[in-house]
Assembly symmetry: C2
Homo-oligomer: 397 residues x 2
Amino acid sequence: MSIYTASTTAPVNIATLKYWGKRDKTLNLPTNSSISVTLAQEDLRTLTSVATSESFSQDQLWLNGQPESLQGERTQHCLQDLRNLRARVEAQDSNLPRMSQWKLHIVSENNFPTAAGLASSAAGFAALVMAIAKLYQLPDSHSEISKIARKGSGSACRSLFGGYVAWEMGSESDGSDSKAVEVAPQSHWPEMKAAILVVSADRKDTPSTSGMQHTVATSDLFQERIHNVVPKRFEEMKQAIQDRDFTRFAELTMRDSNSFHATCLDSFPPIFYMNDTSRKIVKLCHQINAFYDETIVAYTFDAGPNAVLYYLQENEAKLMAFVHHVFQKNSGWETKFSQGDLEKFSDFFKTRVAPEVAFEFDEELYKGVSRVILTQVGPGPLDTTECLINKSTGYPN
Amino acid sequence: MSIYTASTTAPVNIATLKYWGKRDKTLNLPTNSSISVTLAQEDLRTLTSVATSESFSQDQLWLNGQPESLQGERTQHCLQDLRNLRARVEAQDSNLPRMSQWKLHIVSENNFPTAAGLASSAAGFAALVMAIAKLYQLPDSHSEISKIARKGSGSACRSLFGGYVAWEMGSESDGSDSKAVEVAPQSHWPEMKAAILVVSADRKDTPSTSGMQHTVATSDLFQERIHNVVPKRFEEMKQAIQDRDFTRFAELTMRDSNSFHATCLDSFPPIFYMNDTSRKIVKLCHQINAFYDETIVAYTFDAGPNAVLYYLQENEAKLMAFVHHVFQKNSGWETKFSQGDLEKFSDFFKTRVAPEVAFEFDEELYKGVSRVILTQVGPGPLDTTECLINKSTGYPN
């Protein structure tokens, strides 16, 4: 019997206006709209292949080489939605194979280590949903598909688009208007780069799903954030992106990261995601901007201690003079920079920074960081000819 | 010529509802009311002696053995206010010496190391103002005197009373109704104890005066704190003290510490006072309360990384089973506990805690702490026969 396959890749996105708080846990409907930058897939992506056949006996998933359960409520939600849409397509064309009735084999791989602590669920659910949508030949509306991905993992909806993406919270109780939309494509502002400083965590963080509901339930300051602070910032940040105004974009991004972590601290008991290394990176970024008397870098922290630094290509040498100086002993530099590039950063530091800098560097700071990931704004899910499933057997290669 | 002297001691107070933000910088008028517990002076106090004489040629101050300037605007404010009150007293009785015209010698000493990073300005200004008020034989209204101390250092006004103290923010622009009042005397709830974990800081903190104005100017969440969160909490905390309801008192205290630090984090650039050691102490306190399924300890953090733990005498063994276990290598235990007491804590830990505890202890946590200060609720400023000034020379002994 025929085995049908499809494959896609999907990107990681890092929010610049944070999603924190659900108004509906089953449908993953948020308490506020959010904005993110989609990152390049050559550095961070999930590749997912799906196969279906009348002969398959059960839905199965392999994640990074290991069999995993598909029984999670959220995953089941996604699969059911996709099958319902496929059934509608089949109802209009009786020649189509009845895939909506068949079981699925799903194989998924990340090109980055899970140990990095980067939220992989966004890319994972985006790739899962896109691959099945492609297999099912569903009508191609990324915003519609984003609503299904959202049910798997809220922030996954934003990984359906490249460039600069908004997740509009919507107001309908069924979630029909809670979807991702493009604020601007990658081509609008392609100079945006990101340096991720992977910070070593000494214990397991509070999972974001339970953490955000804890904040909703217990923080006195949270209501102010979602009702007044974020709605204003959402409009301002979209405008800053449209205007390619990095100074404004950066300030809003840093402020929103701090606001989100402030509501975590205001929860009871408090939730801490940033550690001393994170705090020192925040201070370093402000010192760098003060040194140049210009905002050339923005930090943002998700539900963990890792720092994501956004900056523009044109300021790379100025920024890296500092960042490479402090974190040069960490791995990751070699992926994007030649020895010559790195020497230029060192020279810049020695000749331009060191003679004028008025603060002391924490020479031990790199010890709290395990690696540097250098990347940039990138496109949304991509078709790929790579397939992780053997088209004859229907099982992982 | 005659030299007149007076001496007083004044206590440290640690806020349970935090003062953070001024609506008037010159008069030290706060953006919200606050509440504190006054601590016992055998452990933490300032002793101040003052002298005045027609023969003195200039105002002079010696602080912990060192000459210090009296030219600060705040100190000048206090001295001028006290001289004005004295002049009024003199106007009513022509027999009184004209001290309001004379210069002052002021000698002040703390009984705790400045290096501990405990806010000594509150006790310092309270003692300064009280000693001069006594020297000048001013009418004895502690709330009136507290308004003068407030101009020296806001939180100093709360050190004019013992026990449980509120600083009512007031609404008048001249500060005439911004004063400290007694919520309850020490005798109302004498069982309140405090353990201060002095946390090593790796750099100078943002001074609280500039820090709080930075928060007022830049934090989006701050307005919610001062207009809605604190006013409600102020009434609830006074009630909890009146009811001697430790559970309620403790939760309000912990929430308010977190709320204050959340607005610091929400400032731009953010201010961080708590470090990883502070965060771990917070977690430990919640774990202790969870272990006993009862709130037996409350943490609070001022504008620095030190933890102040409040608890009731009746729960000392239960609390110290944990706290002594984790911090036994730090100094300070010997000041209040015999070897036998400490062995009881260890036994309690071994027999009652260790077999049932479901979390792991950070065995390195004590390394972030330099000493433990054990104290309790105490009285307000006290008369003393000790005098730091030689009554013949008018200079420090």
